[in-house]
């Protein structure tokens, strides 16, 4: 369903962001993408929804290859993906309902089906009662649920979430994470980038860990080995942060 083969990504000024990345994600899987900030998590997700192309290797998603995808193919692919961010990316001047509807309207969905789909998605994320609220009237957790409803509106085969709980407090984090688990339980694959190690440890999902743009651990490759010790992880995050601030 999703396959990265020897992927490398380099940015003109900041240099190598990813190198020699190879992994596969199967239908219905839940995968954590972890690693310190700057390790390349966001970059991998961007490659998955083809916002960018690798400098080397191939990203293959549901029949669309980074080697030859046309703009139209990429648009069609994204209609089958759900994408969620740390900062929610809701339109402030539209209600929750209108934000969810937006995804259908701009992709030319048949008008007749829109209403029912929107209300179903809002119900699914537990926000049916807040349909007419504006983002500023919603808590962070609720805003993220609206964003998730928007991501689910086209029945995606995979939900791509980049630090979806990064801006949320403890309680909201648990709620949103539980929602993602429910979504996964109903058959949608989830790829979630996070550096919240508590979340990762508390659940038993597959974990792919990056460091300095390299894949340093994949629990699917070594199911019997324990996770690498936490200390280096913390250290490299700190080291990386100081690098970034230079």
């Amino acid at each position: 369903m999703i396959r990265l083969t020897d992927v490398a990504k380099e940015y003109p000024r900041s240099g190598v962001a990813l190198a020699q990345i190879t992994f596969e994600v199967r239908k219905g899987e839940f995968v954590f993408l972890t690693g310190p900030s700057g390790s390349g998590k966001t970059t991998i997700l961007k490659l998955l929804y083809m916002d960018d192309k690798p400098n080397q290797g191939e990203v293959w998603v549901n029949g669309v290859s980074s080697l030859n995808a046309s703009g139209r193919e990429i648009s069609r692919l994204r209609r089958r993906l759900g994408i969620v961010f740390q900062d929610f990316r809701l339109l402030e001047d539209r209600t929750a309902e209108a934000n969810v509807r937006f995804a259908l309207e701009v992709t030319g969905a048949p008008k007749a089906t829109i209403r029912a789909k929107v209300s179903r998605a809002l119900t699914q994320v537990g926000l049916a009662s807040k349909a007419t609220s504006y983002p500023r009237e919603l808590s962070g957790g609720e805003q993220q649920r609206v964003a998730i409803a928007r991501a689910l509106i086209n029945d995606p085969f995979v939900l791509i979430a980049d630090e979806p709980t990064g801006n949320l407090d403890e309680r909201a984090t648990r709620g949103v994470f539980q929602l993602l688990r429910d979504i996964n339980a109903s058959g949608t694959a989830v790829i979630m980038a996070t550096h919240d190690l508590d979340l990762v440890r508390r659940s038993n999902y597959r974990t792919i860990e990056l460091n300095h743009g390299r894949l340093v651990f994949d629990s699917a490759e070594s199911p019997l080995s324990a996770r690498p010790p936490d200390e280096p992880f913390q250290e490299s995050e700190a080291a990386n942060d100081t690098q970034e601030s230079v």
Binding site: R72, S75, R76, R78, R89, F102, A103, V106
Partner: protein
């Protein structure tokens, strides 16, 4: 329908710049339009003089009529020449009397020379051709003088050339400015809607869908500019008609063409900038 209302929303975000865009398109088409009007009116003037003599050659008094007839046959075979007529001294006098009315007595038989009148084929009446025909006729030794409407023909053609150059130069300059202004409007709109556009992309809206409102915005501005230019040109034409000379106006096809030209400018202005600015979102 959604795209149209979205396009107008886009224009509402930058109303002043949008109006400026429409007005510069109008100026551009106005310049083209004035040139066009001058050109079609000169064309009409030239058509009207079609039947006028282009070259008149005066024959020496003592010339044998046979020589004149032979020369007329030669001249009639020039590729540029449509017809050659002989005007005897008597006919010349008659004509002068008719034209001059009360001053007719001034003329006496013998004052006016006989002449041959040469009519040129249509398409062969530009100053260069007329002059070359005149020069060839001048070579007959019994021809005293050759006259042709060199001055007014040349003036008319020069006027048309000036109108052409000025019209095209001004029109192109304004078109360039219009395209730049439309580009600036789009830049502002794209920046104001950056978040919306990036979300559209994420959820799988096609590039065409994202661009369409901008193209429609350009199209609407172009058509409005075209209509405004039409009003300008029409008023200018009325003024000239009222106070100077009678002129003809564009026919329906030409008006349509002008408005299509405006629409083209508007869409082009959108096209050249929308891709560039969308890439940065």
């Amino acid at each position: 329908m959604r795209s149209v209302s979205e396009a107008l929303t886009a224009s509402r975000r930058a109303p002043l710049l949008s109006m400026l865009g429409v007005v510069t398109i109008a100026f551009s088409l106005f310049a083209f339009g004035l040139f066009g009007l001058v050109a079609i009116n000169i064309r009409k003037a030239l058509d009207q003089v079609e039947e006028r003599v282009e070259v008149r050659a005066f024959v020496s008094d003592s010339t044998e009529i046979e020589a004149v007839v032979a020369a007329m046959k030669d001249v009639g075979e020039f590729p540029e020449v449509a017809r050659v007529d002989y005007v005897s001294k008597e006919q010349a006098l008659e004509r002068a009397r008719k034209e001059m009315g009360e001053f007719a007595d001034v003329f006496e038989a013998g004052v006016l020379p006989a002449s041959i009148e040469v009519y040129l084929r249509s398409g062969m009446r530009d100053p260069t051709t007329v002059k070359s025909v005149a020069d060839r006729i001048r070579t007959y030794h019994f021809i005293d003088d050759v006259r042709y409407g060199e001055e007014w023909v040349e003036k008319l053609y020069r006027l048309r050339n000036i109108a052409t150059v000025a019209g095209i130069a001004l029109g192109v300059a304004f078109a360039a400015v219009a395209i730049i202004i439309i580009g600036a409007t789009i830049r502002m709109t794209v920046l104001a809607r950056a978040k919306e556009i990036s979300i559209m992309r994420l959820v799988g809206a096609t590039d065409m869908f994202i661009r369409l409102p901008f193209l429609i915005d350009g199209l609407v501005k172009g058509v409005l500019g075209g209509l405004l230019a039409l009003v300008f040109v029409w008023v200018a034409n009325r003024v000239v008609n009222e106070y100077f000379i009678e002129t003809i106006f564009f026919n329906r096809e030409m008006i349509f063409l002008g408005i299509v030209g405006g629409a083209f400018m508007g869409v082009l202005g959108s096209l050249v900038s929308v891709g560039r600015h969308l890439r940065r979102v």
